[in-house]
C-alpha cells in the first residue's frame, strides 16, 4: 500500500516536471515566433478584443464592489482609532499594491484564460491547427503568439482599470455615503501612495501575471488531448493552475518589491 502510494507520488512528480519542461519550451517557442504578432498587429488587436474588451464588464463591476467593500470595512476599523481620514490611504494602497493586480488577474484567468484554452483545444481537436501547418502557416506564430501578446498587453490595463474603479468605489462609500472629508481623503492618499514604489510595482506585477496566465492558458490548450473531455479538463486546469500561479508569484514579487519598506 505505502509503496504504491510513494510510487504514485514519484510518478506524478516526474510527470509534473516533464510538463513544466514542455511548458517552458513552449513559452520560448512563442517568444521566438512573435514576429508575426507585431508585424501584423491586426491579429493581436483582434485577440485583444476577445481577451481585453470582453473582460471589461466583469473587471469594472468587480473593481467597483471591491472598492466599496474596502471603504465600508476600512471605515469601521479606522473609526475605532479615530483616523477616518486615512481611509483614502487604506483603499488606494491595498488596491494598487495587491488587490488590483491580483484580483484582476484571477478574474482574467477565469474569464479570458479558460476561453483561450477551450478555443485552442477545440482548434486542435478539429484539426484546424494541423490544417494550418499543412498550409505552411506556423500555428505558433499565427494563432498562439497574437493571443499571448494580447493577454500580456491587456492585463496591466485591466488591473489599472480595476484599481481606478475600486478607488472610485471607496470614494463613493467613504466620502459620499459616510461623509469622510473629501479633501483629506485625496490628500492623505496622495501623500502616502508613491508612484514608483506602489503604482509602478503594481503594473510590473500585472505584466508578470499576464505572461503567466497567457502562457498557461495557451499551453494547456495546445497540449490538450483532442477529445471533448480532454478540452474540458484542460480548461479546468487552466483556471486552477493560473490562479495558483498568480497567488504564488504575487507572494514572491511582493517579497522582492516591498522588502525593506515599513
Amino acid at each position: 500500500m505505502l509503496r504504491r502510494a510513494i510510487e504514485n507520488l514519484g510518478n506524478r512528480t516526474v510527470q509534473g516536471i516533464w510538463r513544466m519542461g514542455f511548458a517552458a519550451r513552449f513559452f520560448f517557442a512563442v517568444l521566438l515566433h512573435s514576429g508575426t504578432a507585431f508585424r501584423r498587429f491586426g491579429l493581436t488587436i483582434r485577440e485583444m478584443y476577445f481577451t481585453g474588451v470582453l473582460s471589461l464588464i466583469i473587471i469594472l463591476v468587480s473593481g467597483l464592489f471591491v472598492g466599496m467593500v474596502l471603504g465600508l470595512q476600512g471605515y469601521e476599523t479606522l473609526q475605532t482609532y479615530g483616523s477616518e481620514e486615512a481611509l483614502g490611504i487604506l483603499v488606494a494602497l491595498s488596491l494598487v499594491r495587491e488587490l488590483g493586480p491580483v484580483v484582476a488577474a484571477l478574474l482574467f484567468a477565469s474569464r479570458a484564460g479558460s476561453a483561450i484554452t477551450a478555443e485552442i483545444g477545440l482548434m486542435k481537436a478539429t484539426e484546424q491547427l494541423s490544417a494550418m501547418e499543412m498550409m505552411a502557416v506556423d500555428p505558433i506564430a499565427r494563432v498562439v503568439a497574437p493571443r499571448f501578446w494580447a493577454g500580456v498587453i491587456s492585463m496591466p490595463l485591466l488591473a489599472a482599470l480595476f484599481s481606478a474603479m475600486g478607488i472610485f468605489g471607496g470614494y463613493l462609500v467613504g466620502v459620499q455615503l459616510i461623509g469622510v472629508d473629501e479633501g483629506s481623503f485625496w490628500a492623505q492618499m496622495q501623500s502616502a501612495v508613491d508612484f514608483e514604489q506602489d503604482i509602478l510595482n503594481g503594473v510590473i506585477k500585472s505584466v508578470v501575471f499576464g505572461v503567466a496566465i497567457s502562457t498557461i492558458a495557451l499551453f494547456e490548450g495546445y497540449d490538450a488531448p483532442p477529445t471533448a473531455e480532454g478540452v474540458s479538463g484542460a480548461t479546468t486546469r487552466t483556471v486552477v493552475t493560473s490562479s495558483l500561479a498568480v497567488l504564488a508569484l504575487d507572494f514572491v514579487l511582493t517579497a522582492f518589491m516591498f522588502r525593506g519598506l515599513n
Binding site: E127, M134, M135, A136, V137, R142
Partner: protein, 270 residues
C-alpha cells in the same frame, strides 16, 4: 532530375515505442494520377499522409516529394514545399471563426501580396469550381458536412498545388454528396493537372475514379494495381475488402483467448 514520380516512398517504417505502425512501405504516385491508399481503419493510412506532409518523420526509409526528401528538410524548406501541397482533412478542418470566403482566401493572404480584388477573384473562382460560390458569405457552422468538405477542397487548391492529399474524403457523406465529391476529385485532378492521393476505405466510390490503388494491411502493402486489376484480384484480403465480408484474412474477432477459457467453463478455481 525531373522524374514522372511526384511522390516516392521507399522502405518507410514508422512507429511509436510500443507499436510499429508502418513496416517497410513502397509506394509511388505519378504526376496527373489519382492514387488511392486503402485499408481497414487504423492500419496507418493517415500516418502515411502525415509522413508525406512532413508532420512526422519516418523512422527509416525515405519519403520523396518532387525529388525532395521530406524527412530531411528544415522548417523553412518544408514550409516552402507545403505551399505546393494541399490537404483535405477528414472533417474539413475549416477555421470556424472566419467565413467560407476567408477560409479559402487564408493561404492567399498568408503567402502572397496580391491585392484584395485579385484575391476576391481567385477565391470566387475556386469556390465556383466546387460549386459553392453562392455560399461565400456563410460561416462554416452553417454548412452541411458535404459542403464543408467541398469548401475545404477549394481551400486546399487555393494556391494551385501540385499535390492534393485527401484524408477519408468520403467518410460520413450521403450518396449524393459522395458522388459529387468523387467526381470533383477526378475533375480537378484532370483540369488543374494535379496529382491526388486518396486515403480511404470506401472501395466502391474510389474505384470509380482512381488510376492506381494500394492496399495496406498491418503496416505493409498487400496488394496494388489499377482499378480493373483490383476488381479482378483473387487475393483473399482484397476480395474480402471489396466485397465487405465480415470474416476472412481480417478476422472479425480482436485477438483474444479462447472463448471457453474466458468464460471459465473449465471450472472455477477456488
Amino acid at each position: 532530375m525531373q522524374t514522372d514520380n511526384l511522390v516516392e516512398i521507399r522502405d518507410v517504417a514508422f512507429g511509436y515505442s510500443a507499436r510499429q505502425i508502418l513496416k517497410g512501405i513502397n509506394l509511388v504516385a505519378r504526376r496527373g494520377q489519382v492514387v488511392a491508399i486503402m485499408g481497414s481503419s487504423g492500419c496507418g493510412k493517415t500516418t502515411l499522409l502525415r509522413l508525406i506532409g512532413g508532420q512526422i518523420r519516418p523512422g527509416q526509409g525515405t519519403v520523396r516529394v518532387a525529388g525532395q526528401s521530406v524527412g530531411e528538410l528544415n522548417q523553412a524548406d518544408l514550409y516552402r514545399l507545403r505551399r505546393k501541397m494541399g490537404m483535405l482533412f477528414q472533417f474539413g478542418a475549416l477555421f470556424t471563426d472566419i467565413s467560407v470566403f476567408d477560409n479559402v482566401a487564408f493561404q492567399l493572404r498568408e503567402h502572397t501580396d496580391l491585392p484584395e480584388e485579385a484575391i476576391r477573384d481567385l477565391v470566387l473562382m475556386k469556390l465556383n469550381a466546387v460549386g459553392l460560390r453562392g455560399a461565400a458569405r456563410l460561416m462554416p457552422a452553417e454548412l452541411s458536412g458535404g459542403m464543408a468538405r467541398r469548401v475545404a477542397l477549394a481551400r486546399a487548391i487555393a494556391l494551385d498545388p501540385m499535390l492534393v492529399m485527401y484524408d477519408e474524403p468520403f467518410a460520413g457523406l450521403d450518396p449524393i454528396s459522395l458522388g459529387v465529391t468523387g467526381n470533383l476529385i477526378r475533375r480537378l485532378t484532370d483540369t488543374l493537372g494535379l496529382t491526388s492521393l486518396l486515403v480511404t476505405h470506401d472501395v466502391q466510390e474510389s474505384l470509380k475514379i482512381v488510376d492506381y490503388v494500394y492496399f495496406v494491411s498491418e503496416g505493409v502493402i498487400v496488394a496494388e494495381g489499377t482499378a480493373a486489376e483490383i476488381r479482378a484480384s483473387t487475393l483473399p484480403y482484397v476480395h474480402q475488402f471489396i466485397h465487405g465480408e465480415a470474416d476472412g484474412p481480417v478476422p472479425f474477432h480482436y485477438p483474444a483467448p479462447a472463448y471457453a477459457e474466458d468464460l471459465q467453463l473449465g471450472g472455477r478455481r477456488a
